[in-house]
């Protein structure tokens, strides 16, 4: 078993909702949004973890808690054996942040437009007092640019962000992290604003850096299709809770939780023969508000398989075949997921629902020969 770099137990973050004067006088109880609601997970050394889920599920909050951009409400969070919830001293925090870095979603707003690439990369060095002379720092900056394949570095070092393409900017953002030689990087949707080819190039690069720089990523994304290539483990979040987690191939091929299964159904895949086929999305409605989390299993109002027990009792983590693959569902492993498919014909007439096993659907997948 590899040793864990990040270990979270009962990790909780509540945001208080501001009350008006009238509500205060009426003595209404204070309301909270439970953005992260008591989750347990581990990120193992050199095994990146992907957190996926719809917007508002709390995945970004988890990233911010780890970066100490937000304070934990309850629970424990160890990073390399150290409980970072207790870190308050300024100097200790600074030392911690040198080992933990973050890449943001939007490369167009995360770089200061008035800074040259050199200044952008020099700033973290100055803050942490690394490199005594400007020449020393310049050498480090050039090295970092080379690592993210912005070569030759002399060509990029004096440019402003507006002179770079989206992919190049995101590389500068990665270089800004790497220059401090962190142990792990929280990447919050790092490629979601980029074109398909640039996205592929950048994910390849980030994966290479993992080996070269001895890095581990916490990869936060809504795009499940990129996780299989990029990470080793995956966690699926729903309404502040981690409903399923495990090795990525295991979770994607044999989902145990109905929510994971629904998310997988929704991912568009390049299969051109299905023009007249409608894959029914098995979940109803939209994600409920975090102030009013449903009782019992929080997914039960939208779950097509919900039974009486789901409304009453909160499910615990269960494992089925694989030791590390766990899901919070009363019926994990007992439900046989079927894909419900309809056909549309002339004039928009929709045929009756046909049930297809998930495996069957997967077998028809069209993949260009050269990829096989």
């Amino acid at each position: 078993m590899p040793k864990s770099i990040i270990r979270a137990r009962n990790l909780t973050k509540k945001f208080g909702i501001t009350q008006g004067l009238v509500q205060k006088l009426q003595g209404q109880p204070k309301m909270y949004v439970r953005a992260v609601d008591g989750i347990d997970f581990d990120v193992y050394n050199k095994r990146s973890l992907a957190l996926v889920g719809e917007s508002g599920c709390g995945k970004t909050t988890v990233g911010k808690l780890i970066m100490k951009l937000l304070d934990v409400t309850d629970g424990k969070l160890w990073v390399k054996g150290r409980d970072i919830t207790k870190l308050t001293d300024h100097r200790e925090l600074k030392a911690y942040r040198r080992t933990a870095q973050m890449i943001y979603q939007d490369p167009f707003s995360s770089l200061d437009p008035r800074f040259k690439v050199f200044d952008i990369l020099e700033e973290p060095l100055l803050i942490h007092g690394i490199g005594d002379t400007i020449d020393e720092r310049r050498a480090m900056i050039e090295e970092a640019l080379e690592e993210v394949r912005l070569t030759p570095p002399e060509e990029f070092i004096d440019r402003y962000p507006h002179m770079l393409s989206g992919g190049q900017r995101q590389r500068v953002a990665i270089a800004r992290c790497l220059i401090l030689h962190p142990t792990f990087i929280v990447a919050d949707e790092p490629v979601s604003m980029l074109d398909v080819s640039v996205r592929a190039e950048l994910l390849n690069l980030m994966k290479d850096l993992m080996d070269e720089e001895d890095l581990t990523y916490l990869y936060i994304t809504h795009d499940i299709s990129t996780t299989r290539f990029f990470t080793e483990d995956i966690g699926v979040m729903y309404l502040g809770d981690l409903v399923e987690k495990g090795p990525v191939g295991e979770v994607l091929d044999n989902p145990l939780h109905p929510y994971t299964q629904a998310l997988l159904t929704a991912v568009p895949e390049p299969e051109p023969d299905r023009l007249d086929r409608i894959k029914e999305i098995p979940i109803k409605g939209e994600i409920p508000s975090g102030t009013n989390v449903p009782k019992g299993c929080r997914f039960h109002p939208r779950c097509p398989y919900a039974k009486k027990i789901c409304r009453k009792k909160q499910p615990r983590e269960k494992t089925v075949d694989h030791k590390l693959h766990r899901a919070k569902c009363h019926f994990a492993g007992e439900i046989e997921f079927k894909m419900r498919v309809r056909k549309v014909g002339k004039g928009g007439k929709v045929s009756k629902v046909e049930e297809i096993g998930i495996d069957e659907l997967r077998d028809e997948e069209t993949v260009p020969d050269e990829l096989k």
Partner: protein
Amino acid sequence: MNGRTILDVKDLSTHYFTSKGVVKALDDASFELKGGQSLGIAGESGCGKSTLAFSLLRMVQPPGRIVKGSIMLDGVDVAKFTEKEARKKLRWQKISMVFQGAMDIMTPVYTVGHQMMEPLYYHKGIKGKKGREICYRYLDMVDLDTDLFHRYPHELSGGQKQRVIIATALLMEPDVVIMDEPTTALDVVVEARIMNDLKRLKHELDNSMIFITHDLSILAEVSDNLAIMYAGWIVELGDASEIYKDPKHPYTQKLIAAIPRLHMDMDRLEYIPGAPPELTDPPSGCRFHPRCEHAFDRCMKEVPKEYDVDGVLVKCHLYAED
């Protein structure tokens, strides 16, 4: 109207005359769209796909201008329309469009209904109860509660707003509906639902649709035909499933290989090295040659013709017979 050619675009070129030079954003684009058919247009950002859409609607902003070609819509060349004619006869009546980031184009100060009724009033003079009924019908068609008609945009979720915009685009029963990135910025579950609705609507209304997106996996779900664009050119055009299964142009091959797959273990993702060219000074010969791994001498010198390979038009010297 099924099977009849609705839209016939020939050699359409749109250039932007900027102070830095002429940006050849769209060059010699030709394609046909039949009634009830859908065409997917894919390519990286800056390849000219949005310029193509704006040209069809005659909405190219100065310094841009259509410099060449024809857009035959129902036997009339709309490329020759004056601005007034385009406004009166073309936009929303014949061709409507769901714009990129459409969720943010609604005015917060008017109700959803007010904004939906606007085109009906201006183009056909329909208002009051009659207009409301038409709107209800279309709201229902995109799976929305007619109750939403009286609400304000801020009371709607992102997916609901997107559906309202789609309903508004269908309202005037146009021959062609253009969808420019209709589901970006939406969650996968919402996206899948909207795509399902679009699939159903395509059959139900039997009008032609043009989908523009950089995401090839979404296009696979809705397009009969596919046009792959690179640096202002349509480099491959033909039947969608043929192109997905057996991409001909080296650019298309790379683009499809770059899609990460859910159920396949991959060591590396394919990508296209380098960046798309500046369109003020596109590369000589084939515009893709600096990034193409199959490039040979001829690619640098000569602009490739379009070759018919298994029913797919490919703009690449690899398929030249001579």
